[in-house]
Structures are given as C-alpha cells and as structure tokens.
C-alpha cells in the first residue's frame, strides 16, 4: 500500500482547464501529475492536479500570472 502524504491538489471545471495547468507546470518545471479527482473533494468524476505540498505557492503563482481558470485549491492526505 502506498504511504499517504500531504499533497497539494487543484480541481477544475473542465478538462481543458486541467490540460492547461499541466502544460503550464511542465513549462515551469513544477512537479506533479494529473489524477482522478479525489471523491472527498468533489462528488463529480473528472481529473485533478496533484503536486508535492511544497510546490503549492509556485502553482498558485503560476495560475494567477497566467489568468488560468480553475475550480479550487486543496491540501489533503493522498
């Protein structure tokens, strides 16, 4: 069983938003990956961005500077 750790999660309204954030983070060299959106954050299906907790401020800054629209920021044990 994979050991849980605190992660930074971004949720989206649309798949296009998720693709845009993945591309942005890849460009900026921010670690992370797209995952199935955790049930606890949203009852919807869909995908979410998961990053190491220490990248949270970098991800938030990148989103703010790019004008990218997202649904919300979260921190949770995953």
């Amino acid at each position: 069983m994979r050991q849980k750790q605190l992660r930074f999660i971004v949720t989206f309204h649309t798949t296009a938003e998720a693709m845009a954030l993945e591309k942005l983070c890849r460009t900026l060299g921010i670690k992370g990956k797209l995952i199935s959106a955790p049930r606890a954050l949203s009852p919807d299906c869909g995908i979410a961005w998961r990053s190491p907790i220490e990248t949270a401020s970098a991800v938030k800054k990148a989103i703010a500077e790019s004008g990218l629209e997202i649904h919300g920021f979260h921190e949770m044990e995953l």
Binding site: H13, A16, I35, P43, D44, I47
Partner: protein, 376 residues
C-alpha cells in the same frame, strides 16, 4: 480521377493528417473520462488542437474554441444558442442551407429575418446591411465566401458595422478557413464557424466554433462531460458547455496535423497558389463558346468556378465529365437555393469546379480541354 470538388471536401489529404488519425486510432483513449495515460493523451492532444485553432483564428484562450463535427453543427449552436423569438436577424442570399435552415427554424419560432440581396454576378451592396438594421435587430449571420460563386464578402467591414451597432456577428467560414486570414478580434466576429475537412485539409467529422470572449450560446446538446457529473444541467463553463458527448478525438488528431501543415506552408502561399489555379482555369474556360461562368472574377475570391454549358443541365455536364473524362465536379443546387435564384440558375443548376492547394496544373488543363471538346 481528376478531383475538382474541393469545396465539398479536399482531396488528397496531406499524408501527415492521415498518419495522425491512424496513430490516434491505435493509441488514444477517451478525453476527459479518466486519468490513465491513454485518456490523458487524448485530452492533451485535443487541448493542443484547441490551442492551435485558437492561435489560427485569433482567440485569446483555448477554451473559446468549441469542437463540433462540422460547420453545420457550429452554425446551429451559434444561431440557435444566441438568437430567439422576437429577434431580428440579417443575413444574405449567398448563404448555404447550414445557415438558412437554422434561421428558418427561428423564424417559425417568432424571429424575423432580412436578406441582403445579390446582383447577377453574386455581389452584395454593403450599404444594404446597414439599411436593414431595425431597433430589434440582434445580429448578422453571413458567409465569408459563397460556396456557389466563390465570391468573398468583406467580413472585416461587416464586423465593424455589427460592432458599431451592438449586433452579434456570426460568420460561416466553411469555404475560407485554411486559405484566408481569419482573426475574430481584428474582424470583430462573435462566433466563427469552420469545418475541418475542406480548405483546412483535416478529416471529415471535425469542425468548430470560435467564440469571442464573453459570448456564451445556450447549449444545443446536453449529456456526458466527464466533469460535474452530479449537475442536472450541462456545465456552464466553456468549452464543456457546448461539447456534450465524446469528441472526435481521432479526427481532431488529424485536424491538429492539418493546422501544422498549413502553418508550415503559410496561408499567403496557399492563397497565391489557389488564385493562380483559379485564374488559369477561368481564363481557359470563360472564352469557350456556350459556357457561362458565374461570379465576380475582378476581386480576390475562393478557388471556385461554377459554370454551365449551353444545351446541358449541370447534372448532365458533371456526369459526362465524370464518366467520359474522369473529372469530379459538383452539379445541382449546392445547398444554396437563394444564390441560385439570384443567378437565375434554379432550373439548370451549375457545375462547380473547385480547387485546393494540392490541385495540379495538369488537372486544370485536362478539365478545360474536356469542356472545350464538349462545347464543339
């Protein structure tokens, strides 16, 4: 077969487009429906295509690009999603049924329509657009080029008028996307509707709607979106708002390759070559006794030459060209009933010869030689 029916669909397609579709069909999952790599690869590729289309048509954000299965679907979303009962809409007699029929449906529901007329050469008077505006006018819907004559409309001029008068402006770019520069911001277009399989050189079943920022048509379809699944309604956000159901990911892989193909050549070179082919054919056939060519050849135009040969219906002419000479053209009404009425060709129809960047000079000469022989 000498293929001169590119206004219906371009043929041949660039090999890179075909390869991209085949590759996608071997590897692609369903975009937005899971986070495994096959699904994510589909989402990534579709997002790349969305970005490519946004750049190509001057949209600021990829989410302003809605993928559809063709220009008809895009036009239906734009027309039915932005207009309704009580609205007055201005359009032209140049339009294809993909514009006319959605508008007639709205008319039956209480909208009213006005048509900018065309002269016998298929030309409009731009002052007519302004003269038709009423207090209840909500928008203008028009084609960028007649699919029958190839005449272009000055979209920038009409867009400027629409913007000044606070009207929505919807453009049917089925015959021009991939040849002429189209920028929704410069041309003040609110909804640009395109198909992927004509001058863009993509696969059939691809197309799209490019929306200006803040323009939000009501959804035409509702259904699966892969997100916000417990909402009873279609999600409000673009592009998901207008893209219910699985997208044509395989086709969009081809469309992305097609955008790359066009960007590599450049639209200026494509226009130069298409104009050369069109001029070559027009000069060869317009002097043949018994041939009537339709449209205005004194201006820049789409690569379309529609004509009739005296004594033959257009269906007879196109069938003879196909059976005896192996030349593919399109006869009949071309889904443009009002344009045929304006040209006086309802009975005879017209045989349409249409070219692409990949048409050869030999094809043009063979078609002109066949027409010359048939006229004798």
């Amino acid at each position: 077969m000498i293929y001169l029916d590119n206004a219906a669909t371009s043929l041949p397609k660039p090999p890179a487009v075909i390869d991209a579709v085949v590759h996608a069909m071997k590897h692609m999952g369903n975009s937005g429906r899971a986070a495994h790599e096959n699904a994510l690869d589909a989402s990534r590729l579709i997002y790349e295509a969305r970005e490519a289309a946004a750049r190509f048509f001057g949209a600021a954000k990829a989410s302003q690009v809605i993928f559809t299965c063709n220009a008809t679907e895009a036009l239906n979303i734009a027309i039915k999603g932005l207009f309704g009962a009580g609205d007055h809409i201005i359009t032209t007699v140049l339009e294809h049924n993909s514009v006319l029929r959605p508008l007639y449906e709205l008319e039956n529901q209480g909208a009213s329509l006005s048509f900018v007329k065309a002269d016998p050469m298929g030309r409009v008077r731009y002052e007519d657009f302004e003269a038709l505006i009423r207090p209840e006018t909500k928008g203008i819907v028009c084609t960028h080029a007649s699919n029958l004559t190839g005449n272009l409309l000055d979209i920038k001029r009409i867009g400027q008028l629409a913007s000044e008068r606070g009207l929505l402006f919807i453009v049917d770019a089925a015959q021009t996307a991939g040849v002429f520069d189209l920028n929704i911001r410069d041309m003040k277009i609110d909804a640009l509707c395109f198909t992927g399989h004509k001058s863009l050189f993509g696969p059939q079943g691809t197309g799209g709607l490019v929306l200006a920022e803040g323009v939000l048509p009501r959804p035409l379809k509702s259904g699966g979106s892969g997100v916000q699944s417990y909402l009873r309604s279609q999600p409000a956000e673009l592009p998901t708002r207008l893209e219910a159901g699985t997208l044509n990911g395989h086709g969009l892989a081809g469309l992305l390759a097609a955008f790359c193909f066009l960007n590599e050549i450049g639209l200026a070179e494509i226009r130069r070559r298409e104009a050369e082919l069109t001029r070559h054919f027009y000069e060869a056939v317009s002097k043949i006794p018994g041939i009537t060519v339709y449209g205005d050849f004194s201006q820049e135009r789409a690569a379309i030459v529609s004509l009739n040969l005296e004594g033959l219906s257009s269906s007879e002419l196109s069938d003879i060209l196909s059976e005896d000479y192996g030349i593919a053209t399109r006869p009949g009404a071309h889904c443009a009933p009002l344009m045929h009425e304006a040209l006086g060709t309802v009975e005879q129809g017209a045989s349409r010869f249409s070219f692409s960047y990949l048409t050869s000079d030999d094809d043009i000469e063979a078609a002109a030689a066949a027409l010359k022989e048939l006229s004798q």
